[in-house]
Amino acid sequence: MSTKKTLMGTPMSDRIFNIVVYAFVIGVMIVTLYPFLNVLALSFNDSIDSVRGGITIFPRDFTLKNYELIFSFSSLLTGFKISVLRTVAGTIVGLISASMLAYTLSRPDFQGRRFVSVYLALTMYVSGGLIPFYFLIKDLHMMNTFAVYIIPGLVSAFNVFIIRSFMDTIPYALQESAKLDGANDFTIYWRIILPMSKPALATIALFLAVGQWNSWFDTYLYNGSSESLTTLQFELMKVLQSTTSGNNADIHNPNLTQVMSTVSPESVKMAITIVVTLPILLVYPFLQRYFVKGMTLGAVKG
């Protein structure tokens, strides 16, 4: 290979090209990772020492105090519990809903197939907007409830269509032979199609879990005044916003914020940021193969 290149007469420009490519990609990796590593280092560094500055990606005065401190705030513990709960519940319920609906739409002999597809697809483009939706939640008495985290986002057309396009690739003959054996449509879905759709389900489970874990605006809008239902992201949002020159955040109870102004705001912020980021870091690399395929499939088909 290398001798061939020399014969072509372009080894030098090729080498420069390679250097540029690697430099660019390594540059991107540094820019992507540095903020996380910097925050990680600061979260493990003594808060008074941090003020001196100069900390890059290693802690200078190692301590676990920042983490001990944040786990002593009851609002953060509640937030953590609620965030985990909504992530688990929202993912399971959302996965079953989306896959069930997707299965009916993948059945060529389902008479409602066309109507339901169009009916669902329209929701991707039509939206009532913030205020009508707010009043809907209010009228359904879902303000200050845990249900508001699960029910309104139950079915997303995008997810349904991704699962459906995967199910379309499963040979229909499998279902027909099951039917001959007397299986009903639900059994076919549960016993045959679901186990075979694992790659698509893994992708959607990741999207659902990340969406649930990361959302904060529903808490802000519907559950902000209910202390037992706030989420970790919302608590982090309040802490972060409290110091950026008086933002929208201080309309709710400033409990943690007050404590923080007396202790070590920066280090505590960093520690919460890491706690919020860590679960995602532990999950997504293992599902990479699936979501890359899922995204490509979804983009090609719909």
Binding site: F17, V21, P35, G54, G128, F133, F135, L154, L236, T273
Partner: protein, 318 residues
């Protein structure tokens, strides 16, 4: 004559009978989809009924029949509000900046990744680049604020070390920098994720094209220019057209989380406008008018995008 009528009648009855027979045969499928059809109606279609609020002087305590109707008054107020034009300027500015940067950077990055020969390194680079996509905007806003901060923020430190500036810049307090900060943050967050689609398109280009170019002595830069870029042109065009439909729907999370009182004149976008001037000030009717404007313009843009798409590719994206 008579025979035909009877036949026709039988045909109709037969159709009806067939509908119900199919319905019965599909009973499990209907049972598995009807609950969601109902759910979609409540959470996606019913809120459209709330649009009536924009034509009323809406008071939450009154029933629908008791509301006072005001016609297009709220829309007139909206179109005479100076804030509205400021909001539109901010929305469109950040939208266009986002589209330009959000296309260029991932395309360049995807091409670079594709040129890397070491599969292991390529995979690590991709995994790292996907990370910010999965992190919430709350966290990203925190990181951006930290990196741009005046005390020990990495960007200020770097610029000072390079001798470009003498004292730290207050990035988050300067309105004229806000659009740029939002655009860069967005690119930072989604750059890696958006390469997925381009890399898939590049993978679809036949390797024989590259072989032929190599035989002809084309450098790798020329191969990118003459093979890779034309190979993903269709994908780029499709995505560009689709982004027209979302021109004014740019969300509000980043603006909400990165913004503050000092930069409000540059950070307020349509959704924030309806949140602040509608919900938080309890001017529900006015806020709904903003929502309607947002939805209607989006639909029109979507139709425009679809029309454009049809003319170019003879296919429909809707």
């Amino acid at each position: 004559m008579k025979a035909i009528t009877i036949d026709g009648e039988r045909q109709v009855r037969g159709d009806k009978g067939r509908f119900w027979r199919t319905f019965l045969r599909n009973k499990y499928l209907w049972a598995m989809s009807l609950p969601f059809v109902l759910w979609v109606f409540v959470f996606s279609y019913y809120p459209l009924w709330g649009w009536t609020m924009a034509f009323q002087k809406y008071k939450p305590a009154l029933s629908f029949g008791e509301q006072q109707w005001v016609g297009f008054d709220h829309f007139k107020t909206l179109f005479h509000d100076d804030t509205f034009y400021q909001v539109m300027r901010n929305t469109l500015a950040m939208s266009f900046m986002g589209i330009i940067a959000g296309f260029l950077v991932p395309i360049i990055f995807a091409i670079m990744l594709n040129e890397i020969r070491s599969m292991a390194f390529k995979r690590v680079a991709q995994t790292v680049s996907y990370l910010p996509h999965f992190v919430s905007w709350v966290v990203v806003a925190g990181l951006v604020t930290k990196m741009l901060s005046t005390d020990n923020g990495a960007v200020n430190e770097l610029l000072m070390w390079l001798g470009i500036i003498n004292e730290p810049i207050q990035f988050m307090a300067k309105g004229e920098l806000f659009w740029g900060i939002v655009t860069v943050s967005d690119v930072w967050k989604e750059m890696g994720w958006n390469t997925i689609i381009y890399l898939a398109a590049i993978a679809g280009i036949g390797p024989e094209l590259y072989e032929a170019a190599k035989v002809d002595g084309a450098s790798r830069l020329r191969q990118i220019w003459h093979i890779t870029l034309p190979g993903i042109r269709t994908t780029i065009v499709i995505l560009l057209i689709m982004s027209i439909g979302h021109l004014i729907q740019i969300g509000f999370e980043k603006q909400f989380l990165l913004g503050n009182n000092l930069v409000r004149d540059y950070s307020r976008v349509l959704d924030l406008y309806s949140l602040e001037y509608g919900l938080q000030m309890s001017r529900y009717s006015f806020g709904t008018a903003i929502n309607i404007f947002n939805s209607v313009v989006s639909i029109l843009l979507l139709f425009a995008a679809n029309g454009l798409f049809k003319r170019i590719t003879k296919e429909s994206i809707m």
